[in-house]
């Protein structure tokens, strides 16, 4: 009662409500609605408990065990032994992270720029039969990864692939020979090669960019043109800032996906890491330890390290968002 004097009217009412017993705050109808709502979401609640929360707790517990799946009776508690091994005594973990992060650093910018560029082209007013082009540009994205990976690995084959034949034809150099461009065998080229291999997967990013471009109000361009801004300036000062939320979304999803990069290197090289460990991505190493060697304890530890790295990177990226991602007032 004493504190209500300076507070706005709403606060007083809130206090008054509080004096009543809580049950009467919501009527019987609302209580029934609340129960119905919980019933509707119960499939997810149960699934979350069974397939997320419980395994996560178990996974944390596993990471303290020396636990071979084949001999569960011999599992023993080793404290932070797995963590120590992964972080300090196993050089493969660090190598796998270097391979994975180097790939992400090369793949992400290329992916973002290509997706944005394609979206610009598909949004151009000058483009005839735009819908046909949009469909055709998107179509390869529905090709199963297994098929596109096999096709691209053939096309990048140093002797018979079209890429090297085209390079030879265009530049008059012999790219197909022994000294040619060995896309799949040269460890330095691997990040670029695998970026090519996954390029068809950009379809979703292109579409989302396209939707972002369509959402930019034309009035902005008109007034900028009247002020004398050319194409390049309008691009940098209107288009890019206006679609930056979309770019941000693609960046976050791209990062999370790349940290878990697995299918392409596994299909082409199994867990061999060929050439010279250049395709020994983190998930490949995790798969090898957890499921090939059936080391449940060490595997769980590696999975948690992946989780913490993903979390840290996501937090950093979200932290930088404030300085470069533009959110208009009504969107917030």
């Amino acid at each position: 009662m004493a504190t209500t004097m300076v507070k706005p009217a709403g606060w007083g009412r809130l206090r008054l409500d509080r004096t009543r017993p809580k049950r009467q705050e919501i009527g019987p109808l609302e209580r029934r609605r609340a129960r119905a709502g919980l019933l509707f979401i119960s499939p997810w609640l149960v699934g979350f408990l069974l397939f997320y929360l419980l395994p996560m707790v178990a996974s944390a517990f596993f990471s303290t065990l020396s636990f071979q799946l084949a001999t569960p009776d011999e599992a023993e508690f080793i404290g932070l032994g797995n963590w120590q091994r992964a972080l300090f005594n196993d050089p493969n973990v660090w190598r796998a992270w270097i391979v994975t992060l180097r790939f992400a650093v090369i793949n992400l910018p290329i992916g973002l720029v290509v997706a944005f560029g394609f979206a610009l082209l598909l949004n151009s007013d000058y483009l005839r039969s735009r819908n046909l082009f949009r469909t055709l540009f998107y179509a390869p994205s529905v090709v199963p990864f297994i098929a596109s990976t096999l096709i691209f690995s053939q096309i990048l084959n140093s002797q018979t692939g079209w890429v090297n034949r085209l390079i030879s034809f265009l530049f008059g150099i012999d790219a197909t020979g022994v000294d040619g461009i060995r896309w799949l065998d040269n460890p330095t080229l691997i990040p670029l090669t695998y970026t090519f291999i996954g390029i068809w997967g950009l379809g979703n990013a292109i579409l989302i960019n396209l939707a972002g471009l369509q959402g930019v109000p034309t009035a902005l361009y008109e007034s900028a043109s009247i002020d004398g801004a050319g194409w390049w300036r309008r691009m940098w000062h209107i288009t890019v800032p206006m679609v930056s939320p979309v770019i941000f979304y693609n960046l976050v999803l791209g990062l999370v996906g790349l940290l878990q990069y697995f299918l392409q290197p596994f299909v082409l090289n199994g867990t061999s890491g060929y050439p010279q460990g250049a395709t020994n991505f983190y998930m490949i190493y995790f798969y090898k330890q957890a499921f090939q060697f059936a080391q449940m304890g060490y595997g769980a530890t590696l999975a948690w390290i992946l989780f913490f790295v993903a979390l840290a990177i996501t937090i950093v990226v979200f932290g930088t968002a404030r300085s470069w991602v533009y959110y208009s007032a009504e969107q917030t």
Partner: protein, 358 residues
């Protein structure tokens, strides 16, 4: 002088519009041509796969671009290779009969009665005539070798069974999150969304240990059962759609005495067909692509593997038969591609909703 004085240009309205029109036309041509050029590079791998799948094994390495064979002509019960032979009055396609160092003898396939034709020059410098020969046999061969019907059956089985489970359960959950107030709704929804960024690896190890303990490894069960408990992507998209459905209909249904379940089935679901279709399509493509789960659970049971896993092992074993791998890849991509072309509108809208409204 007259020349130094800038002449005033008189521009009529018609001239201006004509100039703008001309510029537009030029730009349209330029941009569209650019798009065609980029598109042909973008789709080039498809052409490569198609062409390579029709080559014989030796053609993959030898034949330039298209699957071709050197043309031959049968003359007096023997086969002779056909070459492009230059003469003063133009090139002629002739079959090489006797090979000599400086002079060779040819026969004209279109007029063999004329007898041998002598040509001065080195036959090794001649270009052989190639004709298209398509090895359609690669398709049945790959089909048999991989046991495609079995892979297709299991992939389709997995896709359809989990499609029902994932879509129906997600629709329930999305309805719960979009129309009811209950304590902790906001937090729970955040948790649901957060599962998108959670790397599946974190839950995979203990799940695998558990499923192997109850004897489910080597079966589809560990992959199918969890799909019946909704997932974040589907819930998000469906919830977004449910928000756009006006509540008046539901209120009317409530006045008529319909309960929440009845309202859901008879009012909400019939109005959500486009969103349900989009979610179903997404799920179908997801299932067609799903890799890590099938790999760890089905690696020991070759009889029930899906396409993604079967093709991986096949490409490892038939490494030296690129034409068969390409034929198999082509069969694999055909089904999703056909489905996409039939349902592209719904599909594309769905992606835009999940991507932009977030």
């Amino acid at each position: 002088m007259n020349l130094l004085v800038p002449r005033r240009q008189v521009t009529t309205y018609d001239e201006v519009t004509a100039r703008i029109k001309r510029k537009r036309l030029l730009m349209t041509w330029g941009v569209t041509t650019l798009a065609v050029a980029i598109l042909s590079v973008w789709l080039m791998p498809l052409a490569y796969a198609g062409v390579t799948s029709l080559k014989t094994r030796s053609q993959v390495a030898d034949a330039p671009i298209l699957p071709t064979e050197i043309a031959t002509f049968e003359f007096e019960d023997r086969k002779y290779e056909v070459f492009e032979v230059p003469f003063d009055d133009g090139d002629r396609e002739l079959a090489l009969v006797t090979r000599g160092r400086e002079t060779s003898e040819f026969v004209d396939p279109s007029d063999p009665e004329a007898g041998l034709i002598t040509w001065e020059g080195r036959w090794r410098t001649l270009e052989p005539v190639r004709s298209l020969s398509l090895a359609w046999g690669n398709y049945p061969e790959a089909w048999e070798l991989i046991n495609f019907p079995r892979l297709l059956f299991w992939t389709t089985f997995y896709a359809t069974v989990t499609l029902f489970g994932a879509v129906i359960s997600s629709a329930f959950v999305a309805y719960g999150f979009s129309r009811f107030r209950f304590r902790g709704r906001g937090v729970l929804f955040m948790v649901l969304m957060a599962t998108i960024i959670l790397p599946p690896a974190v839950t995979q190890v203990p799940s695998y240990a558990f499923f192997s303990w109850i004897g489910w490894t080597g079966t589809w069960l560990p992959l199918i059962v969890p799909q019946f408990f909704a997932n974040a992507y589907n819930v998000f998209l469906l919830r977004q759609y449910f928000f756009t459905i006006p509540t008046e209909m539901e209120q009317a249904a409530a006045v008529d005495g319909a309960g929440a379940l009845r309202t859901f089935f008879y009012v909400i679901l019939p109005q959500s067909v486009p969103a349900l279709t989009a979610v179903s399509l997404f799920h179908f493509f997801f299932a067609w692509n799903d890799f890590f789960g099938p790999l760890i659970y089905l690696v020991s049971n070759r009889d029930i593997q899906p396409i993604s896993i079967g093709l991986t092992f096949f490409s490892g074993v038939y490494d030296s038969e690129p034409q068969l791998i390409m034929a198999a890849s082509f069969i694999t991509l055909a089904i999703p591609l056909v489905i996409f072309f039939f349902a592209q509108r719904v599909f594309i809208q769905g992606i835009v909703i999940t991507g932009v409204d977030k």
